[in-house]
Amino acid sequence: MSSTANTALALELDGISKAYNGIPAVQNICFKLKKHHVLGLVGENGAGKSTILGVINGVVSPDAGHMRIYGKAATFGHPDEAARHGVATVFQEQGLVPQLPVYENMFLGRENKFSVGGVLRRRSMIAEAQAVLDELQIDNVDPCAVTGDLSFGQRQLVEIAKAFALARVYPVEPIILLDEPTSALSEKEAGKLFDGIQHWRTKASIIIVSHSMADIFRCCDDIVALKDGRGVAQLDAKDTSPDKLHELIVGRKREEEYYKEFRQRKPGERVVLSIQRIRKDPVVSEISFDVREGEIVGFAGVLGAGKAVVASMVAGLTPRDGGEVMIEGKPIASGSSFQAISQGIGYVPAERNLAGIIGAHTLEWNLTLPGLSRVMGRSGMVISARKSAEVTNHWLKRLKVRAPGGGTIARNLSGGNQQKVVFAKWLARGVKVLVLDEPGRGLDVGAKEEIYELIRDIASEGTAVLLISDNLPELIGLSNRILVMRKGQVTAEFQADAGAKPAESAIVKHMI
């Protein structure tokens, strides 16, 4: 690791580590991006990709490590400085102001160049924007168009153009970070993007973060594989294959203990939840499946494959465009969470803080919310303080929630304990079907294990469980049966009996 400036390198990370609340997000990450190269950053959810992007574009200050941009040591935590060095990020959630015209977005924050005594020279901004678009051969974007009126793909091109526009303000070659660039693009748009990348790379260095092996192998020279916050390898794309790479980023053996496989039981005969040809245009097309009592049915698929929408339709949160959801033969109206809940469906959302728990309220209030009618006094109108406390204490104890009592304010609990309270909400109410959307997300290893134990308990009591997860080992480990989705359709179904679990690679094949 010589510290002398190496001009052939655009970017160099050396020993980057970062922890949040004591949980390491990335550890000792080292890699190099050569000038005019395209580097792919791959890894599962939670492998640390976003943290690394954040470090490079200056949003995240790492706890340790160094970064050099064009050979010069960079200080961390200053997005503006990163921008001045040419680093530009194209995010999944786009960073453009929809109300502004394209040319203003392209020079947002860099207007000084066009300012005469505080007044912007509109015409030269437009001309400059057009010049950048021309140079990039982007011919389907009008610099004067209102950004919000453009398609997603067009807006993405604007973001890329914005990165190159930077190079006109600061005399540096841009380093462009693309975060999941194809996740919301059509096949054709994605093709155009990759053609563009081949053209643009002569004037820039590019890092692509992607779930999709296909994307990575389509355009990258180098690949950095991440696993659990560590860099496992930097490879030459020519010397590796998707299979090999996948092994690297998943690479851990499934731990049967962890997922309580020995507790997996054969599902009952009785069908509890029956889904018939539900669809949501254009994200989910005609999906049918049954969940039996005590069965855990898992849904696999990449981000945007439609599995979360299926969960949301079953829970009655998203209105469906067709098809039936039935519980024990009784149909449930579309988009009525109220009816779904009263028929016995419980929903544990992926976004715990936004959708699962009210942070400002006590555990007791949170826990009794879906089943208030069950803690009413004899009149049926007034909440019985005694019953409410009884129910709360029973479930807090049963689920081993670590809290002083039901009066504790929910936001003061750790994520794992909050998640247990979300489960308790439904268990206290009594459910026939539990829909779990990413139940382990954001939890540390120990908390996850407790949640898995809980899921096994719930299934053993005969509840039908629908499990949505981006975490494949979790999905395989917990499910009795796995449905794989791609682009809104079920592409495969796997039996996942204890001791005879399908391999991840077999499932991934149907995901991408």
Binding site: N21, G22, I23, A315, L317, S337, F338, A340, I341, S342, Y347, P349, L354, A355, G356, I357, I358, G359, A360, H361, W365, N366, T368, L369, P370, L372, S373, M376, M381, V382, I383, A385, L396, K397, V401, R402, A403, P404, G405, G407, T408, I409, N412, L413, S414, G416, N417, K425, D444, G446, A447
Partner: protein, 331 residues
């Protein structure tokens, strides 16, 4: 109660006692403020600390208490009703006209009905047309003000039914004026309803986390509308009582009621972001505002200065109660 905390790593250490105490800090602060205010005004003018004056405070703050309770229900769900003052004004006029035609009961009933309809429209605008409550009720305030102007021609409507004045100002219970009895009774009922019924719990849930409430099966829209309807009806009742106290329907006074009620709600600890506080907290807020207003009157602080003081009090109270973690951006 005491679950032993043997954490596997990162769960925060929780000890029950300091946390429980901390929950009472705001209420302790309010009591302290009440005592300091009373002491301060009593030193400034000994007449302040007299039974007659405390009865005065009770009389003056009854209508304010009703309106503040009404507004609390809406602020609890994270919305706001700026039309409460205008609703009260319109209700005083309706009462003044109706008591001479339909008698006392008819006057009260019509005023309450008027308020409920206003609330229904406000709630409908929010829920079905997705007009933010701030704007819907701001517009409603102007509309109601105009209607009040048309009805009254800008001057007070004096009614002849003296029996109504006697009813409102008379006393059925322990020498307490009936207007105060009604206000206190409403406070008790609403506090109970908020804390111990489904209606109340749902309002808290909607304000605390609308998505969570919806996911938990709370019919959000229905309860939002109900919050506005009950708020409007209470404002109607407040208007009827105000007309009874004054002996006439008054076309003015709407903006003072609005400002004072919001000040009282926020001082009481119901955050504008919703989900915390509630009617039981507003009672203390009203007491603070009532003592502050009366004290400034008794110590002959000018009207303009009073407005400045109350405005500042609102700003400081909001600054102290805002849950900054809940917002990414303040607009």
């Amino acid at each position: 109660m005491s679950t032993t905390t043997v954490s596997t790593g990162t769960s925060k250490r929780l000890t029950s006692r300091p946390q429980a105490l901390r929950a009472y800090y705001p209420i302790l602060a309010q009591f302290t403020a009440v005592i300091i205010l009373i002491a301060f005004f009593a030193i400034q003018n000994p007449l302040f600390f007299s039974l007659t004056n405390f009865q005065n405070i009770g009389m003056q703050s009854s209508v304010l208490l009703l309106v503040a309770l009404a507004g609390t229900l809406v602020i609890m769900i994270g919305s706001i009703d700026l039309s409460v003052g205008a609703t009260v004004v319109l209700a005083t006029l309706i009462t003044a006209i109706a008591v001479d035609i339909y008698g006392s009961a008819g006057g009260i009933a019509l005023a309450v009905l008027t308020g409920a309809i206003v609330g229904l429209v406000n709630g409908g605008l929010l829920v079905y047309l997705k007009v933010p409550s701030f704007l819907a009720t701001l517009g409603m305030m102007s509309v109601l003000g105009g209607i009040a102007g048309h009805i009254s021609g800008g001057i007070a409507i004096v009614y002849q039914n003296w029996g109504y004045t006697d009813l409102v100002n008379g006393s059925f219970l322990m020498g307490l004026p009936n207007v105060a009895t009604v206000a206190l009774l409403s406070a008790v009922v609403l506090a109970f309803v908020s804390l111990r019924t489904k209606f109340g719990r749902y309002l808290y849930a909607i304000g605390g986390g609308e998505v969570v409430a919806s996911n938990s099966g709370v019919p959000i829209n229905r309860f939002k509308i109900w919050a506005f309807v009950v708020c409007g009806a209470l404002c109607g009742l407040a208007g009827a009582l105000l007309a009874g106290q004054v002996g006439a329907g008054t076309p003015a006074a709407g903006s003072a009621i609005l400002l004072n009620s919001i000040a009282a709600i926020v001082m009481g600890g119901t955050a504008l972001s919703g989900g915390v506080g509630g009617p039981h907290r507003t009672i203390l807020g009203v007491l603070l505002i009532a003592i502050l207003s009366n004290g400034m009157d008794v110590t002959e602080v000018g009207g303009f200065t009073q407005e400045i003081v109350k405005g500042l009090v609102i700003i400081i109270a909001v600054a102290l109660t805002t849950d900054r973690k809940k917002y990414q951006f303040i607009k």
